[in-house]
Amino acid sequence: MRDITLGQYINGDSVIHRLDPRVRLILTLVYIIMLFLLKSIPQMIMALVLILSAYALVRIPMKMLFKSLKPIIPIVLFTSVLNMFFIGGDEVFSFWKFSVTRQGIYYAVMLSLRVICLLAGSSLLTYTSTPIELTSALELLFMPLAKIGLPVNDLAMMMTIALRFIPTLLEETDKIMAAQKSRGANLDTGNFIERVRALTPILIPLFVSAFRRADELALAMECRCYNGGEGRTRLNALKIKRSDIIAVIVFLGLCALIILSGRIVL
């Protein structure tokens, strides 16, 4: 339970790992927007090839991708089939009261491909970025909003602390549960109300401890000269490198190609 990994980061040293996290974040967004601009199956297939080649670059086994796609397959199939039946057009075949149309099938395939690409794209971001990298990327990207009074630094600090304390609090929950079970707390049986009530001996100590930790942490931060985000510098300041610029140009070029190919072919 202690080793829960948020966003399932995979340690590595691929070209994509080495990109600035801001670049990774923005390119992922670009890719997702592109998915919604595409209008034909061939384009969608190109988009799929693009993201799969990115996976190949990172050397993430396809097995892992399938594993993360698995839970959504039923939903995709269900909505696709639903669409297939309810979109009107040239009938291909029919049974009972339903008729399946060419347009329906086309749309269903498009939708499935789009969802698969969407998931593959966003998973790639979390596979290659640590939560900390994403936090600093978001912090820097939102920095302009600090000018209109959004406490960007403080929000980023909160994110960091939350990430830091998740394993600690999970471990603590384990310990408290063990202690209360030893005192005969019955956590596994009973109806809903009883079970909720059985949580009190876990939740109260957990909250008390979380508050105590927060208090001590605030004190320790103060002792280390923290007084808000202003004037802070960073050890690992993010810097856009040449490789980042190349990656942006190449990726945007490929996306443009995919979008434009729609106009040429159709």
């Binding site: 900390i132 830091r164 931060m221 002792c223 000269c225 802070r232 050890l235």
Partner: protein
């Protein structure tokens, strides 16, 4: 005036509860002071008064001549006198060791090259080079506490106050942390104020201050303080096992000095008695 820390008639109370009562204390630059006393004797309050976390209800506290009640000096005071707490989990901010050590220099607004240098130096000083990229929650208690010390060292303080830093550690972690503390004092000349419940740790200090009921009950070198076993016990404390054994041997008529506080001293003394007998 080379007192780095000076308390002048300092009292502190929470409401009607008098925690500290008219304390006078000075700590010289480079000194290693151990503070003892039972729980509730005011030790932690004393520590928090030093770097301006708490302000005295009466009297003044000076750090390198700076009055802790002067708000404009607060950042300078906290940089001069760093503080390490008991629970290592609750003072680590970041999810990577080096990022955590960098926290204070980042707050001070130093530039990245300077931060990098301080972080590397601090991590080296506590011997955690191998763990620089690790997640703190995967380290042992003793390692976490050394991360916390490195985090304070990165401010380049002249004094470090440690509030029961080994209370939650196992013997191995405890001796590693104590090793680091001693080295910082002897090699880097950093002033150490160590609050502890372990007499063996206090025996390493230059001077021991014992608090009782918010007052200074004893103030002197370990050899002098520990040689009075009855007094120690009446203050809710104990003497190190070595001193206990030495005092018993003296009672049995062996010609030993009663200020023996370290195992190697006793061994040497006994061996020289043996030599003399031959």
């Amino acid at each position: 005036m080379n007192d780095l820390i000076r308390f002048e008639k300092v009292s502190f109370s929470y409401g009607t509860n008098n925690v500290l009562d008219s304390i006078d204390l000075s700590v010289e630059e480079g000194e290693f002071l151990a503070v003892l006393g039972y729980n509730g004797s005011g030790k932690s309050t004393l520590a928090k008064l030093i770097n301006g976390i708490l302000l005295p209800t009466e009297g003044k506290v000076y750090v390198d001549g700076m009055d802790t009640s002067d708000e404009t000096k607060l950042s300078e005071i906290r940089k001069t006198a760093g503080m390490v707490f008991q629970n290592p989990d609750n003072q680590i901010v970041a999810t990577i060791v080096e990022e955590d050590v960098a926290f204070a220099p980042e707050n001070l607004g130093l530039d990245p090259a300077e931060i990098r240098q301080r972080v590397d130096e601090a991590i080296q000083a506590v011997g955690l080079e191998k763990h620089i990229k690790d997640a703190p929650h995967k380290l042992s208690g003793g390692q976490k506490q050394r991360v916390a010390i490195a985090g304070v060292l990165a401010m380049q303080p002249r004094c470090i106050i440690l509030d029961e830093p080994t209370a939650m550690l196992d013997p191995k972690g405890r001796s590693l942390v104590m090793g680091v503390i001693e080295r910082l004092n002897r090699e880097k000349g950093i002033t150490i104020i160590l609050i502890t419940h372990f007499m063996e740790e206090a025996a390493l200090a230059d001077r021991i201050l014992i608090l009782s009921d918010g007052k200074v009950a004893e103030n002197g070198p370990p050899k002098e303080v520990f040689s009075r076993k009855d007094r120690m016990i009446s203050l809710g404390l104990e003497v190190p096992p070595v001193t206990d054994l030495t005092l018993r041997l003296i009672d049995n008529g062996l010609p030993l000095e009663k200020d023996i506080i370290r195992p190697e001293e006793l061994v040497e003394a006994l061996l020289s008695i043996k030599e003399a007998a031959h």
